[in-house]
């Protein structure tokens, strides 16, 4: 008891001056059910300890002050009192003697001695002067001149007091702020009818003034409502006032599109984002797709990694692989920032847009277990292949002249070979080589989350195990994850979150190697000989890839990552907020490749100490990053809002790897470095270190005038260790304007729910070179060892004038929603002009270098994006939605350098299967340049080329190449439709591309350029020239020279595909309860159901495409 009293006195000291309250908040009334939780909670708030919740009260006091009496009642009953402090002071003393009486009785006894009245509202007791008619106290306004209103503002989710919230009386405008206990006391003016309560990060709330003088107001946090904010990764912006182009969706939405691939889902939902089609790699689970947002901004001959958007997860920059391997259940929201207005915050890294991922926070302060299972069954898709059968193949070989010789002895041998094969085929040999390396691939992805804690402190544990097996035998990608997260809300507006995660990915490539090895094989070859032994050698001296696959060779790697994220937030007052985020991550990786000594690669090597090879790369990295953001929000005159965000970020990346190789393994299974006989001749271990730091500061101002007009401005300064001291910092800015037309009085608000015009412009940047290119850097190297010391030489002559590549972005957009949001549309047009593009410039060699980097190139992307959906039906039971995401992007090179022209010449001079890129001013980076073809000469079976001057010739000259078209489609995107019936919903996503030109590799290499010793497309027999007079599409069947890049192989491609057909069912709570769960839902997703294309071409030559079904089950206990 004594303890309690001391606590109470403590409490009293902290009580606000203006009003006096002895309460357990109304909120607690709702929570009464869990007594324990209430007690803990009130303890933690230094509120009144209420051990005894007895309804009956025993009280014996004589001439005690009202305060004492009420306290005692509260202690015994757990009821809280709300009353004006002045009433307490003015009140007379009370005498009372009751024993085990109900509270109502006791209160009556107390208050009949006083000029006061009371009202019980749940567990709260309101005390008022007696004249007030309590029966009518919920009427909007009464005649009594109420001059002071007291109240408390709490967080609806946590029940915590909100200090620093602004409470404003309307229409008079008198305002006050809540104190640290969330309590306010507001002087009302005559005519005031409402109060407006606002707080940063919370939804503002307007309530009518009650005619009693204490009010509880609960505010909801806005960040839980994705629709209302734009997550920038550094701070959240209100969507209402946002002037840039962005696209947001929740983790659930992603999962509803594609549960097995985060990247696929993001690009399907974002107009303007495309995954670059890599036809060769098919559905290889170990191959990351390339993502492109609004076209390319750098020249590249090979992969698109330089054009990849920046990925920011909870404020930390992560790699594409991190996103690829992420547990989809962990994602709260994904926001794609497309234009300068948003992306300028990341300045020097944002030239290709930004993908911001926010992971889920701890859901609830109660013990909950959530289990998610994603399963997938994938079947190989052979539909693109149309190969010769054994008889056709033999026929092709014969026509190609493989069995013809001028030498009669040789001819005799060839004849017998032919006859043998013919006999074999007749005896029924027909090997389906394509089926050999393929299989049905199963995927299982288990994810468990256990959360718990109290309202002040919450924690979550999560674990994940995912096993992906592709459709090629023996490959796989296993993902393990484990995480712990804790959130704590402390006093004075502080809150902390810490999240530690461990992730590991093991991946193994299929030992069967490239699928193309199998397509080539001749169907008349048998896998096994008559003794059941595997044939090592097949027809035409080809090695049997199945034999290779049976050896101990492997190619595997693993990576693991330990990452810790720490977030702190301090709500200084209602206007200011300080947030900070820190991440430290440790990564490790290993790549191991082993080539068995028994491999056919060593068939000519006699020295056993040189057979077999093990190649190992170990990498490790320590990266950290942090940011600090100060936000200021202020509302002026009711509906003008000023928001300022300023902050700084730092990053440090230090990754290093070492590679070494051993040769000479004496047995197939001794694939460990210990058994290596030696190093390969002349090869030494090597290593790479990639170390860089950068930091930036930004300042963002957003002002909204009368909720209608918006101005937004960002200034960002970036510094990078890649630059010299003189040119270290780059400056980026953006500005935007917005107009919420729907808030104008002349608009019909019933029809137009949302109509917003917005426009933005600004710079984003990119650093796309190594530090030594700007800053003369010396390097020590072991080959520079001199007699009495080691030498150092400059890696290159630094160009101190190198600047950041800058992209000027212009964006204009409209957002519209009509008829109660039945029709929604977002459209954007943009122009992105990249200047100072860093490219090589050829220099006079007497400078000491032959090429130097310089900011010479210019490139432009223009495009349109559209997202639209319509609810044809929408009611409680049924809804049917139709929608589309479309994009159109045109790339144009404005300026290139002499070096790139040289690269063009090189690319031209190389004979390759498909034409290599040609970079020409005025053309797109993806334009297709080939020599015009005049068809096949009917007399000779040779191809006729048309020269630039119109002359016809048999001689191929790459300088006759003309641009035929752009490989990028004119329009691409998807059309989707959603049907929902009660708890069942079905969605279909149809993808399409239109108007892109494609160089048909199958026709070029499998019909025309085919090697007669390999299997080929069936068109080889039907469409090739065979004898004079044939009007054929393809050259002489006996001509096995490599095909030339000509217009004959260029086709315009239009495709339609059903990418995803998804069905989901959300079980009712009653059903869920029946199996002991709180929530249960089930989803099914069929991928790549069909694909129609105007181009008949083999896809997935290195790795097969697959089609199949994904299942996902979510259970919450």
């Amino acid at each position: 008891m004594k303890q309690n009293e001391s606590k109470e006195s403590q409490l009293e000291n902290k009580l606000p001056l203006g009003s006096y309250c002895l309460e357990k908040s109304l909120f607690h009334r709702l929570k009464r059910r869990s007594k324990l939780a209430t007690v803990i909670f009130s303890m933690s708030l230094l509120s009144v300890p209420t051990f005894a919740m007895a309804q009956d009260i025993s009280l014996m006091v004589k001439n005690a002050s009202l305060e004492q009496v009420l306290k005692e009642i509260r202690k015994q009953s757990g009821y809280n009192f709300f009353l004006n402090a002045e009433l307490l002071n003015q009140s007379k003393n009370v005498t009372l003697n009751t024993k085990n009486k109900p509270i109502g009785y006791v209160l009556d006894e107390v208050f009949k001695q006083l000029p006061l009245d009371y009202k019980i509202d749940g567990k709260s007791i309101l005390v008022q002067p007696k004249k007030v008619n309590l029966q009518s106290n919920y009427q909007v306004h009464n005649a009594i001149q109420q001059t002071v209103l007291g109240g408390r503002v709490t967080d609806d989710a946590t029940g915590k007091y909100i200090a620093g919230a602004t409470v404003q009386a309307l229409p008079s405008g008198t305002r006050i702020m809540t104190d640290e206990k969330g309590v306010f006391k507001l002087d009302l003016k005559e005519g005031d009818t409402r109060i407006l309560v606002s707080y940063l990060g919370m939804e503002s709330k307007t309530v009518n003034i009650p005619n009693f003088n204490f009010i509880e107001i609960k505010l909801k946090a806005i960040q839980t409502e994705i629709d209302n904010v734009v997550v920038t990764g550094l701070f959240n912006k209100s969507k209402e006032s946002f002037t840039g182009a962005s696209q947001s969706f929740t983790g659930e939405q992603l999962k509803a599109v594609s549960p097995t691939s985060v990247l696929e889902a993001i690009s399907m939902l974002t107009p303007g984002m495309v995954t670059v089609t890599q036809n060769r790699e098919g559905s290889n689970p170990n191959k990351l797709p390339d993502l492109l947002l609004r076209g390319v901004t750098s020249f590249t001959n090979t992969d698109q990694s330089v054009n990849q958007p920046l990925i920011v997860r909870d404020g930390t920059i992560v790699s594409l692989q991190d996103l690829y391997d992420m547990d989809i259940n962990e994602i709260e929201t994904v926001t794609v920032l497309k234009d300068a207005s948003a992306a300028a915050l990341y300045g020097a890294r944002a030239a290709n847009g930004v993908i911001v991922i926010e992971r889920k926070r701890v859901a609830e302060g109660k013990i909950r277990v959530a289990y998610n299972l994603i399963s997938s069954v994938q079947m190989p898709d052979f539909s693109d292949y149309n190969l010769l059968d054994p008889m056709q193949k033999l026929e092709y070989e014969k026509l190609a002249g493989l069995y013809t010789s001028a030498d009669p002895v040789a001819q005799y041998g060839l004849d017998s070979v032919y006859n043998n094969r013919f006999k074999m085929i007749r005896s029924g040999v027909q090997t389906d080589w394509m089926a050999q390396p393929s299989r049905v691939g199963f995927t299982n992805d288990h994810s468990v989350r256990v959360s718990g804690g109290s309202q002040g402190t919450r924690y979550e544990l999560n674990g994940r195990f995912a096993q992906v097996n592709g459709v090629m035998k023996g490959d796989g990608r296993d993902r393990y994850g484990f995480g712990f997260m804790i959130e704590h809300y402390a006093a004075k507006g502080f809150s902390f979150t810490n999240r530690t995660t461990f992730n590991r990915v093991n991946s193994v490539a299929s030992p069967y190697g490239a699928f193309s090895n199998f397509i080539q094989l001749n169907p008349y070859d048998a896998i096994y000989d008559e003794y059941g032994q595997m044939n090592k050698l097949l027809s035409w001296e080809k090695a049997n890839p199945l034999y290779e696959a049976s050896l101990g060779s492997f190619d595997r790697n693993w990576t693991q990552l330990i990452s810790n994220d720490f977030d702190a937030r301090w709500n200084i007052n209602s206007n200011f907020r300080l947030t900070t985020h820190w991440n430290i991550s440790l990564n490790q990786g290993n790549i191991e490749g082993f080539l068995s000594p028994l491999s056919a690669a060593y068939k000519d090597e006699t020295d056993p100490s040189k057979k077999g090879m093990l190649n190992e790369t170990n990498s490790k990295g320590l990266n950290y990053s942090g940011n600090l953001v100060l936000s200021y929000n202020k509302i002026f005159k009711e509906d003008n809002l000023l928001a300022i965000n300023t902050g700084a970020t730092i990053n440090r990346f230090d990754n290093r790897s070492s590679t070494f190789m051993g040769i000479g393994f004496y047995a197939d299974n001794l694939s460990f470095m210990k058994f290596a006989a030696s190093y390969p001749d002349g090869q030494q271990p090597t290593g790479v270190q990639d170390l860089s730091t950068d930091l930036s500061g930004f300042f963002n101002v957003n002002y909204s005038l009368k909720n209608r007009y918006y101005v937004d401005g960002v200034y960002q300064m970036s510094g990078s260790s890649k630059f010299g001291v003189n040119n270290r910092y780059g400056h980026f800015w953006s500005t935007g304007l917005g107009w919420n037309l729907h808030n104008e009085s002349f608009m019909n608000a019933d029809v137009i729910n949302l109509l917003k015009l917005r426009g933005s412009m600004g710079y984003t940047g990119k650093v796309n070179f190594a530090s030594y290119q700007s800053l003369t850097t010396y390097q020590y190297r072991n080959e520079l060892a001199y007699l009495n010391g080691i030498g150092a030489v400059p890696i290159a002559i630094g160009n101190p004038d190198l600047k950041w590549e800058r992209t000027m972005n212009y964006n204009a957009g409209v957002d519209m929603s009509l008829w109660n949001r039945r029709v929604n549309l977002t459209a954007d047009v943009y122009v992105r002009r990249t200047t100072d593009l860093l490219i090589d410039k050829t220099l006079a060699p007497s400078t000491g270098v032959t090429t130097g980097k310089d900011n010479l190139g210019e490139m432009e992307n223009r495009g349109i994006e559209l997202r639209a959906d319509v609810f044809a039906v929408r009611n409680e039971i049924w809804s049917w939605q139709l929608g589309t995401n479309l994009q159109h992007n045109r790339n144009k090179i404005l300026k290139i350098s002499n070096s790139l022209q040289r690269l063009n010449d090189q690319n031209n001079s190389v004979e390759s299967g498909s034409p290599l890129p040609q970079f020409i001013e005025g053309e797109s980076t993806t334009s297709l340049k080939v020599v015009p073809s005049g068809g096949i000469d009917a007399a000779t079976g040779q191809e006729i080329f048309i020269k630039r001057n119109g002359e016809r010739t048999f001689i191929y000259d790459p300088y006759d190449k003309i641009v035929v078209g752009d490989q990028t489609p004119v329009v691409s995107g998807n059309v989707f439709t959603t049907v929902r019936y009660k708890r069942l919903s079905a969605v279909a996503y149809f993808g399409f591309t239109n108007g892109g030109y494609i160089y048909n590799m199958t026709r070029a290499t499998k019909v025309e350029g085919s090697n007669p010793m390999f299997n080929a497309d069936v068109r080889v027999l039907t469409d090739r020239w065979q004898k004079p007079g044939d009007i054929a599409q393809y050259r002489n069947i006996a001509d096995a020279t490599s095909p030339k890049s000509s217009t004959r192989f260029v086709e315009k491609e239009n495709t339609v595909s059903l990418d995803r057909l998804n069905i989901a069912y959300d079980f009712s709570n009653t059903f869920a309860k029946r199996i002991g769960a709180n929530k249960l839902s089930f989803g099914m997703s069929i991928n790549d159901l069909f694909r129609l294309s105007t181009v008949r071409m083999e896809r997935g030559t290195n790795y097969l495409y697959s089609r199949g079904v994904d299942f996902n089950i979510n259970i919450l206990f």
Partner: protein
């Protein structure tokens, strides 16, 4: 304890300002990072260790295979001097026909041009950074700068000898860029005469700066503990500067000055012609000559390549000495030329013993029995200037003015190679320019000097097929890379 932003605003700003100031300096620190083994030029070239590393880098780069480690010592340049045959090797075949337009030959010549200038640029960066410093700030400041200036002149001189016409034939010969910069814009072309001026100016400056080598360069060698002062013959030392000056003047036709500087080197007494005994033990093969090398580069990774090229015999890769080469050594009725037995050795091939050229093969690796007997003081490497050349320069320069002195210098070399003096022969001989040239041909095989000598004297060349190629600019002037012409405007 209420936080009032208004009252605390001034305080807040002070804090922010303070943070900003510390942040600004620490920001720059945060951004000043390099991966292991990389260091910015500014940081490296600020202290003695850094300058020494940079100089070692320059010497090591000079010894790369595209420069003196191969092409400019024993390979391309000696192929042009018609020392070897290598049937089936298209590069060698075309080079021997002076077909510089042949694509692979042209590529090699272009690489030589580029890599020479690359190393010159590196030297320039050293000089530029030295100039920024106080000469008294480092103990060996003068050595660093003298060596760097010397190398710059030395490399430009070789470029000039390779890519421009002989100035003795054409006073107004076109020159090349004399690069003193370390930046991405090229230096413009200067006339050959102007380039000579620059070279001489740099060398004279280097001579002054390296004056202390009189102390540092010891004979017999006593190596001090200071690493930079050890093995001065592997650095571009004072005598290398003087010897180069002698070369340069001789090349310009200024015999008086050529003789003056050659004399300086000879009179320094730091070098000694090898004795017959030295030759008998073929101390020098693959090494810097213990007493004769004025300047050479350290290199010990060349052995395998040299062995495959000169000792082993595989077509299209291995060079054989031209068939009549050995005859030249026996030409003057002298029984023993020590160079025959030390430079050449029989290798038993399918058809019997064949003479192979082994002068450049490290004898301690070549002869397995000696593998562990390597003395401490021998230095593997490439000889770039040796004492006999000074004797030849003196002999040639003094031939007209003082024939007896000239003959004495010439005889000294003959004697050290086991040959009798000209006057002591059965039929006494007189010294002629042709004799000097012949001696040079025999002495400098594998050292890249002969082609320059032929060019200087504008000699017609007797090729390995015994056909005479008349002297012309097509033979003696390498084409300047097209890129240089296109982009140096």
């Amino acid at each position: 304890m209420k936080f009032n932003i208004k009252n605390n605003l001034p305080k807040l700003f002070t804090v922010i300002l303070g943070v900003c100031l510390t942040v600004n300096t620490s920001c720059n620190k945060f951004l000043d990072i390099r991966p292991v083994g990389e260091i910015t030029g500014e940081q490296l070239l600020s202290n003695p260790e850094g300058f020494e590393s940079a100089l070692y880098g320059v010497y090591a780069s000079m010894n790369s295979s595209s420069l003196y480690g191969r092409e400019l010592s024993y390979d391309m340049i000696d192929v042009l001097a018609q020392y070897y045959v290598c049937p089936g090797n298209l590069i060698v075949e075309n080079a021997k026909k002076y077909n510089y337009q042949y694509v692979d030959v042209e590529a090699k010549l272009n690489t030589i041009w580029g890599d020479m200038y690359k190393n010159i640029a590196n030297v320039n960066n050293i000089i530029i950074n030295l100039d920024k410093m106080n000469a008294n700030s480092m103990r060996f400041y003068n050595l660093y700068k003298g060596e760097a200036l010397g190398i710059r002149a030395f490399m430009h001189f070789d470029l000039l000898r390779l890519y421009t016409a002989n100035i003795q034939n054409n006073e107004n010969a076109e020159g090349l860029p004399y690069s003193v910069k370390f930046e991405l814009s090229p230096s413009s072309f200067s006339s050959a005469a102007k380039v000579y001026e620059y070279i001489i100016a740099d060398l004279l400056a280097a001579e002054d700066l390296l004056a202390k080598d009189v102390e540092y360069f010891t004979n017999p060698k006593v190596n001090p503990t200071e690493p930079f002062l050890r093995d001065r013959e592997t650095h571009f030392n004072l005598y290398a500067v003087q010897a180069t000056l002698a070369r340069v003047y001789l090349n310009m036709g200024d015999k008086a000055n050529a003789a003056k500087y050659a004399q300086k080197v000879v009179d320094s007494n730091k070098f000694k012609l090898m004795t017959a005994n030295d030759f008998a033990t073929d101390l020098q093969n693959g090494m810097l000559y213990p007493t004769e090398t004025i300047f050479g580069l350290y290199n010990k990774t060349n052995y395998t390549l040299l062995r495959d090229r000169f000792w082993n015999y595989t077509t299209s890769y291995s060079y054989s000495p031209r068939p009549d080469l050995l005859d030249t050594y026996a030409f003057e009725e002298e029984p023993v030329d020590y160079r025959i037995s030390t430079y050449f050795k029989d290798n038993m091939l399918g058809t019997g013993p064949v003479k192979r050229f082994i002068k450049l093969l490290d004898k301690y690796q070549f002869n397995e029995e000696l593998q562990y007997a390597r003395p401490a003081n021998v230095i593997d490497g490439t000889n770039l200037i040796r004492l006999p050349e000074m004797h030849y320069i003196l002999a040639e320069s003094l031939l007209d003015s003082s024939p007896s002195t000239a003959t004495a210098y010439f005889n000294a070399v003959l004697n050290s190679r086991g040959l009798t003096s000209l006057s002591n022969r059965n039929t006494p001989l007189t010294l002629t320019l042709e004799r000097i040239t012949n001696e040079r041909y025999k002495e400098f095989i594998g050292e890249g000097q002969t082609f320059f000598n032929m060019k200087r004297l504008n000699l017609p060349i007797m090729n390995t097929d015994n056909v005479v190629v008349p002297a012309s600019n097509q033979v003696y002037v390498w084409p300047i890379p097209l890129d240089e012409k296109e982009f140096n405007y």
